[in-house]
Symmetry: C2
Subunit: 481 residues, 2 copies
C-alpha cells in the first residue's frame, strides 16, 4: 500500500474475518442488534463445515450407519448385505455441499443486511482490516467497535520430505473426493480419521488406518476408541495402532508408505489421508500489525475477546477452546451479543452461564463421532475430571443390557459412563458409545449445562423401551455401588 494508491474505505460497527458458520453467527447477532457489519471471506461463504467437514462427512456416513443398523435386524438384514451404491451416496453428498457453491449462503448474508466482501482480509492496524479481492483490488474496512477473527483452522501435514509430490489427502479431499480409491491409507486416530475410515471402507475402499498412539479417539473415555477400533476391524479396516509413518512417496501413481521406525513395513495405496491435527489460520491475517505473533492460537476470555484487547475478538476454532462447529456457533452467539452490549453501553453479563460468557466451553462441550458405533460425549472424561482435581466417581453401564438397545439391534455392543462430582452430586461428564446414541447425548448436555442434581435426574423418566433408559441404569448403578 503506497500513499498515492487510491483505496476505497468503509467504516462498519463490526468487521468479521471469515464466513464459516462462526463468522455467519457473529454477523447474525451483531446485525440483529442493529450494528453495521462487514463479513470478509477468501474462500466459500459457509466455511469448512459446509463444504469440507460436517456436512459432506455426515452425508457420506449416514447411509453407512443406516446400512449397519439394518444389517443387525433379522427380517431386513438379508436385503442389505450388498455394498452401498457409492455413486448415489456421493451424489447426495454433492447435494449437501451445494456442489461447492456458496450462492445460497451469500444470499443469506444479504438477507440479514451484512455486507459481504470477497477476498483475503488482513489486519492492518487497530480496528482495521484490509481486504484484497480476487481481482487484486484492495479496500480498507474500519471497525468502530470490534473485529472478530473467525478464520478457523487448516489441516496440518507432518514434516516428511517430498510429501507435497505425493499429493496427500487432508480432510478436504477426504470429504470431497469424487470416487472411492481402491486402497486408502488413513493416518491419525481422531474424529476425522475414524469417520473417514468408516465412510470409505463402506464406500468401496480397502482402508488401512495408521495410528501413532495406542488407541483411537483418545480425547474420549478409553472405551470409545476401543469399541470403534473393534468395529472398524470387523468392517474390514486394517487398524494398526502404535504405528508411525516414516516416509511416503508416490511411485508410478502408487502411494508407498513406510512405517517404522523398527518394523519398516511397506504399504501400497492409491491415496493417503493425513488427519493429524489442525493449525490456526492466523498466519496471514496481519497479526503482526497489531503486535501479535502470526500463526498462533488467539487466547480469549469468556466473552471471546482476545486477551489484552478491547476491540479484537477471536471466535470458533481459532481460539482453540473447542474445535467443533456447534461450539464455535455457540461462541459466535455469545461474542455477537457481547460486542453488541458493549457497543451500546449495556451491561455485560459475563458471570458464569451469563448471556455473555461461553461457560459451556469449560464444562459442557458435546461431541458426536458418526462412526459405527456412534461415540458421543459431553463434559469431562474421568481422567480429565480427576486431573482437574474434582472428587469424582465414574459409573459405567453395558448398553447391551438396556432393553431399548437390544431391540434396536441384534448383537448390540455399547457402553455408557457418567462421571459424578461427589461433592456437588451433579454430573461432570457423560459418554455413550453404541449404535443409535447420537441423539441421546443432548440429554446429557442439558443435565450438565443445567447442573441438574442427581436427586432430580431420578425424576427424569426415560421412555420405555428407548436406549435412553440407560439413564435409569446409570442412576441405579450410582445408587447401589
Amino acid at each position: 500500500m503506497t500513499e498515492t494508491e487510491n483505496i476505497a474505505s468503509s467504516t462498519y460497527d463490526v468487521v468479521v474475518l471469515g464466513a464459516g458458520p462462526v463468522g455467519e453467527n457473529v454477523a447474525d447477532r451483531t446485525r440483529a442488534a442493529g450494528l453495521s457489519t462487514a463479513v470478509v471471506e477468501s474462500e466459500l461463504v459457509g466455511g469448512e463445515c459446509s463444504y469440507w467437514a460436517c456436512m459432506p462427512s455426515k452425508a457420506l456416513l449416514r447411509p453407512v450407519i443406516a446400512q449397519a443398523d439394518a444389517r443387525r435386524l433379522p427380517g431386513l438384514s438379508a436385503s442389505v448385505q450388498g455394498p452401498l451404491d457409492t455413486a448415489a451416496v456421493l451424489a447426495r453428498r454433492d447435494y449437501f455441499t451445494s456442489n461447492w457453491k456458496d450462492d445460497g449462503q451469500i444470499g443469506w448474508l444479504d438477507s440479514i443486511g451484512a455486507d459481504f466482501h470477497r477476498g483475503h482480509g488482513r489486519l492492518t492496524g487497530e480496528r482495521t482490516v484490509t481486504v484484497t479481492g480476487p481481482d487484486g483490488v484492495r479496500k480498507v474496512l474500519t471497525a468502530r467497535h470490534a473485529v472478530a477473527v473467525c478464520t478457523g483452522t487448516r489441516a496440518v501435514l507432518p514434516d516428511l520430505p517430498g510429501l507435497d509430490e505425493v499429493k496427500p489427502w487432508t480432510s478436504r479431499e477426504a470429504t470431497s473426493a469424487q470416487a472411492a480409491p481402491g486402497r486408502l491409507v488413513v493416518v491419525g486416530g481422531g474424529v476425522v480419521a475414524t469417520e473417514m475410515a468408516t465412510a470409505w471402507q463402506a464406500l468401496g475402499s480397502q482402508v488401512t488406518l495408521l495410528v501413532r498412539g495406542k488407541g483411537l479417539l483418545n480425547r474420549m473415555e478409553p472405551f470409545a476408541g476401543e469399541l470403534v477400533a473393534e468395529a472398524l476391524t470387523e468392517a474390514g479396516v486394517n487398524v494398526r495402532t502404535g504405528t508411525s509413518v516414516e516416509s511416503v512417496t508416490r511411485e508410478n501413481g502408487t502411494v508407498v508408505v513406510v512405517t517404522g521406525t523398527g518394523t519398516g513395513d511397506r504399504i501400497e495405496a492409491d491415496e493417503i489421508l493425513f488427519a493429524t491435527g489442525r493449525a490456526p489460520r492466523t498466519d496471514d491475517i496481519g497479526l503482526d500489525t497489531i503486535g501479535r505473533e502470526p500463526g498462533t492460537w488467539l487466547e480469549v476470555d469468556d466473552s471471546l475477546r482476545v486477551t489484552g484487547s478491547d476491540w479484537l475478538y477471536a471466535v470458533g476454532d481459532v481460539n482453540h477452546r473447542a474445535l467443533l462447529t456447534h461450539q464455535g456457533k455457540y461462541q459466535a452467539r455469545i461474542a455477537g451479543a457481547a460486542i453488541s452490549a458493549r457497543a451500546s453501553g449495556a451491561p455485560v453479563q459475563a458471570d458464569p452461564w451469563g448471556a455473555h460468557a461461553a461457560t459451556a466451553d469449560h464444562d459442557a462441550v458435546p461431541q458426536v463421532v458418526f462412526t459405527d458405533p456412534e461415540a458421543a460425549a459431553v463434559g469431562l472424561s474421568l481422567a480429565e475430571a480427576e486431573q482437574a482435581g474434582h472428587r469424582v466417581r465414574a459409573v459405567d453401564y453395558d448398553l447391551a443390557s438396556v432393553s431399548g438397545a437390544g431391540l434396536y439391534a441384534d448383537g448390540y455392543r455399547g457402553r455408557a459412563r457418567m462421571v459424578v462430582d461427589l461433592d456437588r452430586e451433579i454430573l461432570l461428564g457423560v459418554t455413550f458409545v453404541g449404535p443409535g446414541v447420537g441423539e441421546l447425548i443432548h440429554s446429557a448436555t442439558i443435565a450438565i449445562a443445567g447442573q441438574v442434581p442427581i436427586s432430580r435426574l431420578w425424576h427424569a423418566v426415560p421412555s420405555y423401551p428407548t436406549i435412553s433408559e440407560v439413564w435409569l441404569r446409570l442412576l441405579e448403578a450410582y445408587r447401589d455401588n
Copy 2:
C-alpha cells in the same frame, strides 16, 4: 373359605399384587430396604409389557422403522424396496417375549429374595391377600406394612352384540400373532392402534384404520396425529377418521364390519383389532372386602398410597395417573422407597420432587410412539397447559429445516414444539415428531423435570449436525418472535 379349611398363611412386610414391571420394581425396592416381600401373579411374571405390549410391539416395529429410514437414503434405498421377511421379524419378536415363558423373570424375583406366589390374589380384609393357586389351593398372605396393587389394566372391548363370537384381537393378539392377517381392521386412534397399524401393514397386511374422532394420537399436539396419519396413508393404510363401528360379525371366517351410522359402509377383513381403551384390573381383587368398589381406578397421593388408607398402595396403570410402563416403574421406585421409609420410621420426603413423591407424573411424563415417523412428547401440550391456567407460548419449528434431519433422511418431514411457561421461563412441554426423534425426547424430559431455565438452555449446545439442533432453533424462535 370355611372355618374348618386348613389354609396356609404367611406374614410379610409387603405384599405385591401383580408382577409386571411395576410390581417387580416395588419388590426390588422393598427388598433392597430389607423388607420381606411376597409377589403374587396369576399370569406371567413380567406382565403385559414383557409379553403383550412394549417388548413385542417394539420388536415388530424396529425393523419397520429401520427399513423406512433406509428407504430414504439414496445409495441404500434401492436394496430395501422389497418387503420385510415377516417370519424372521416374528421370530425375533418371539425371542424378545422369551416365547411367553417367565422362567427368567421368576429367577430374577428369586435373586432379589422376594417370595413368588403363582395364583390369583384377592384382598380379604385389611392388609390381607388370599392367593388361589393354579391348583385351587389357597394361602393367606398378611402384610405388616403395605399391600401394593400393581395389577394394571386390560383392554376394553366395545359393547357390540355378538362381538365375542368374532374373536376380535386386543393388544394381546396384535402383539403375539404368529402370522400377518391378509386384511386387518384396526379400531382406534391411539398408540396401540397407530403402532399396530404401522407394524402389520409393513409385515404384509392390508390395514384399515377406523378412528371415531377427527385425528390420531389426540393426547399429543395435533401435528403428531396429522404427520402419523399422513405417513400411514402413504404406507398403504386406509385411514378413515370420523368413523365409528356399528356392527361386527364373522361370516364364514371373514370379519364383516359395518361402519356407521350414516354411511353404513361394509368392510371385510380377516381380523379386527380393538384398541379402544383400557380398564383397571381391580374387578376381582377383593376391593369390596375393604369397603372399596371393585373395577374402579385407585386414586393415590404422590407417594402412591391409596386415598384414605395407610397401608394400601396402587402403583402403575391401575392408579390411572399415566398408563405407561416407564412411568409405572418410576412410581414403583417411589412407592417402594416410601413404603420402606414408613416401615422404618424414616422421614418421608413427600415434597415436590422429593424421593417419595412421584412429581413427574404431573409435570414430566414422556412418551414415544414408535410409528414412522416417531412421535415423542413430554409434559403438557399447548392445550393442556392453557387449560391448566398457565401463561404460555408455543414455539414451533419445522424439523426438515434442521441440518441433521436433512442428513438423516431425504424428504424429511417432522415438527417440533416447545411450550414455554412465560412466568417462570421454563418449559412445560416438548413434542418432537419425525424419523429418528425417539431418543431425543429424553433431553426434553431432563429439561422439564430439571426445570432448567431458558437462559441456561442456551448453554446446552446441541452437537452439529444432529437432529437435536432443533433445540437451538426452538430457542431462537422463542427469542425472535
